[in-house]
Amino acid sequence: MTHATTTDIQDDRPRTSPEPRKAGLSSRSLPRWSPLGFAVVAIALGVGISLAAGWHSRVQWGLISALLFMAISYVTTTVVENQRQAKDRLATSIVWVCFLVAVVPLASLLWTTVSRGVERLDGYFLTHSMAGVLGPEHSGGVYHALIGTLEQVGIATVISAPLGLLTAVYLVEYGKGSLARAVTFFVDVMTGIPSIVAGLFILSIMLIAELEPSGLMGALALTILMIPVVVRSTEEMLKLVPNELREASLALGIPKWRTILKVVLPTAIGGITTGVMLAIARIAGETAPIMLLVFGSQLINTNPFEGAQSSLPFYIYEQYKVGEVASYDRAWAAALVLIAFVMILNLVARGIARWKAPKTGR
């Protein structure tokens, strides 16, 4: 050997190819921005196709783009990665598309209400009624309707919450026989009563007993709608309280009623409050019974037991029917007030639930 290198032994093994293809764990994958890329391409194609075909509806453009997006992403992923990844992307895309389809109308609704309602919403609007205001005038307010809603919803809550709560306590803690089954059945039936039917029921009582329309009658119809919701949600919350707590309390020699009052209910109170708040939110927007039973009014009436009242949903409907620009503005503003009312209730419910939740500090 005449090599001047330091190796004396020749390496005669056959050389392997420069970059061996490993059947290992890693494989090719698309870059992270690929969904965005697919979206851009799909939208461009979708809009292009729609314009070429002469369609002008944004909804059509959106749907075509969505379908193209899913097709492009599936095909590209199958080619570049593998079929499992492609199916994964397809499922993710479908979920996202559905989410957008659900959320876009909601966002649009909120946006429209806020932008249209804010024009008319101010302190004056909230503190004055429609007394003496004609339809086309740019004045008047929602105070009488606000009072009406607050009182009717308030009375309905004061009646429904204790009744619903105690019914749920009976069903979960005590009821084991045919009475419990009958109550559960009727609560289920009541959950499905249309609001106009509840209104008609109270109306028939009003006519038979020759009572005048008043806020109280509307509140009674709202009670019928509210009780089953409170019973159902309270029942679920009570069932979530672990049985071990009840046993621990009973084993201390605490009577059953006291166990329920001092151990079970405080443990479930967060969820129960949320349930009641949600029930309130539901009935705050009921128009039909109010129309039948409360009659509506332009004047401020703070007595729910006597005389016609208005309420927010009724006011919105009324103003819409007037048909003037000014009344449309008022209707939008009132709709904003109603949505704000329900949202505030929801936030308060969450706050109470968090405050009352069993604490886990150290």
């Binding site: 707590l245 621990a248 309390s249 020699g253 006291r258 443990t267 604490k359």
Partner: protein, 258 residues
């Protein structure tokens, strides 16, 4: 003021299913009695009949008698709530009330039975926590929630809660099975101290624990598969573990089944 328990011909049902049959035994005051036996043989069911918790389960029914210092717990006119104030219970998994602080947990039995004055409650809470060997660990945070303690501490909290009402008998259903060995040791030492004041009955799966902790041991077993559980043998712990009279006991203790 520990009491003596005499059980006569006790049979317990779940609906129509007979869970345990014809159990008779005596538990001396200020002693520790351990119940051992394979799973499903009715030890916990029997334990729960001693403080009338068995009837809390839907369909639970008991025949026979349980005498507490000659008073039948199942006599007519006896209120189960009163029974449970005299016979306390500690459960397998610690269950402090989650909405209450440590102080309120220990005081729960007292408060919900009528004692309200703060200074009275403070004294009793301190005494019970000292009795449960938990005072030093929690004395600066009595207002913190009860669920913020470790497992062993929570179980000692439940023991403090049970002894705060000064029962005559303390029933413990596998109190250490959810705990680590150090906490288990702490609770076993505690049982040794508590037996000076209370009659204690403890159900355990751990035979070494039964041997360490109890004065007398009762062995339960099913007479055959699908049959109700029975009391096979009850005797001084030393004799059960060294020289039992019944072959089945010997088999269980030496690990041939169970």
């Amino acid at each position: 003021m520990a009491k003596r328990i005499d059980v006569g011909g006790l049979t317990a049902y779940y609906g129509s299913h007979k869970a345990i049959e014809d159990i008779s035994m005596t538990v001396e005051p200020r002693s520790v009695t351990a119940f051992i036996g394979p799973s499903g043989c009715g030890k916990s069911t029997f334990l729960r009949t001693l403080n009338r918790m068995h009837e809390v389960t839907p369909g639970g029914r008991v025949e026979g008698k349980v005498l507490l210092d000659d008073e039948n717990l199942y006599g007519s006119g006896v209120d189960p709530v009163t029974v449970r104030r005299t016979v306390g219970m500690v459960f397998q998994r610690p269950n402090p009330f989650p909405t209450m602080s440590i102080f309120d947990n220990v005081a729960a039995g007292l408060r919900l039975n009528g004692t309200y004055r703060k200074n009275q409650l403070s004294d009793i809470v301190e005494k019970s926590l000292k009795g449960a060997n938990l005072w030093n660990e929690v004395k600066d945070r009595l207002n913190k929630p009860g669920s913020g303690l470790s497992g062993g501490q929570q179980q000692r909290l439940c023991i403090a809660r049970a002894i705060a009402v000064e029962p005559d008998v303390l029933l413990m259903d596998e109190p250490c099975s959810a705990l680590d060995p150090i906490s288990t040791l702490a609770i076993e030492d505690l049982i040794g101290e508590l037996k000076e004041r209370f009659t204690i009955v403890i159900v355990t799966h751990n035979m070494q624990q039964a041997a360490r902790v109890s004065d007398r041991t009762a062995f339960f077993n099913l007479s055959a598969v699908g049959k109700p559980g029975r009391l096979i043998e009850i005797d001084e712990t030393e004799r059960i573990f060294s020289n039992p009279s019944v072959q089945a006991t010997e088999d269980y203790i030496s690990g041939r089944f169970g």
